[in-house]
Symmetry: D2
Subunit: 117 residues, 4 copies
């Protein structure tokens, strides 16, 4: 079975190469792009409550999926340009988070680790 | 071979469950989290030029990898809470982009499709 | 009575000139800076509910004020570099919003104008 | 002479009151709004270089002014809801920045203060 993220990465690379867009894709510009698309996800949740945000109307849910897709596309591209493995980076961060947020201190609390007693 | 993104998703779910953090993870809050972490990627590229952004010092590159990992973790979690398949969403968006940015119009140009002649 | 925003603008300009920082302040970089600082405001509201966000602890409120100050400083600077009058820009936008959101359609509704019936 | 920012604040308050929108304007939601509008400023600078960003075409410059206006409107509103004086907050932050970035260390350098030798 092929790795799905690796397939997406290949498809993104082909898309960019066909359009000769690598010239615009500095890490700086791609970092901006990730942030811009992330804000577009947020736009759909701007005025609802947290509770309401679980129950999106189908059309809105499709738009959110679209923006989520955009963030992943730019994130994949940014990781490639910097030669960073996306899944390794997240796995390593998760390991750090396990250290910073041990279950006994963090359970059920949204406190930032620097504010732990 | 196991799918690497699926493995990451399972690890993220276990991490959240152990800490009883699902209660804080409304789609609204997770959308904010993706945007906050995306801004933290950007922070590393705030003052450099596009060209300089390719050549990160090793320590800075490691920090950027960390922030990229954070964005992916929250994106994975947001997709799960909304029951959206992350790779499908990006693949579908890429297909839309192929329509909006046909090679003959888009090649070598960073123009937004709404501004095509 | 002197205009308070104009005084702030002068202070920001002096601060930048003394440090010879204008060289880093392209509109592109300043736009990133506004977004980065805006995300830092958001960070303080990441996990609370809307209701809880009204009642900040004094220390948190002071930090939020700090981040709000940062956004205004960069916004002032961006407007100056682009030779845009900040208050005129907001006043003009408010006038557009009055057109897009007439009281009889918008009253008590958080619907985006493009989604009005 | 009336204070221009104070006049804008009054106009924003009237705009919100007429539409009965205060109910949507929790600090959390307004913080998101500032970040969303900040990203919309950035969108105009996504693919250009820093140098190119100084020379906006008139139509683009008008759009940027519009987005800058939006950020200020939401910032004004956020400050009001939290009972923070916007100009005082920025003035206090500027004083802190003078401490963190003394001229002799910061002159001509875009280094973050935590990275000073």
């Amino acid at each position: 079975m092929a790795d799905r993220l690796a397939e997406l990465q290949d498809a993104v690379e082909a898309f960019v190469a066909e359009r000769d867009w690598a010239q615009f894709h500095s890490p700086k510009n791609l970092a901006m792009s990730v942030a811009i698309e992330a804000a577009e996800i947020m736009e759909h949740f701007q005025w609802c409550t947290g509770e309401e945000s679980y129950a999106l109307a189908p059309q809105k849910r499709a738009r959110v999926a679209n923006e989520i897709g955009d963030v992943l596309i730019y994130l994949v591209r940014l990781a490639r340009v910097l030669d960073i493995d996306l899944v390794d980076a997240a796995t390593a961060k998760l390991a750090q988070n396990r250290e910073k947020y041990p279950v006994d201190k963090a359970k059920g609390r949204a406190t930032k680790y620097v504010d732990f007693d």
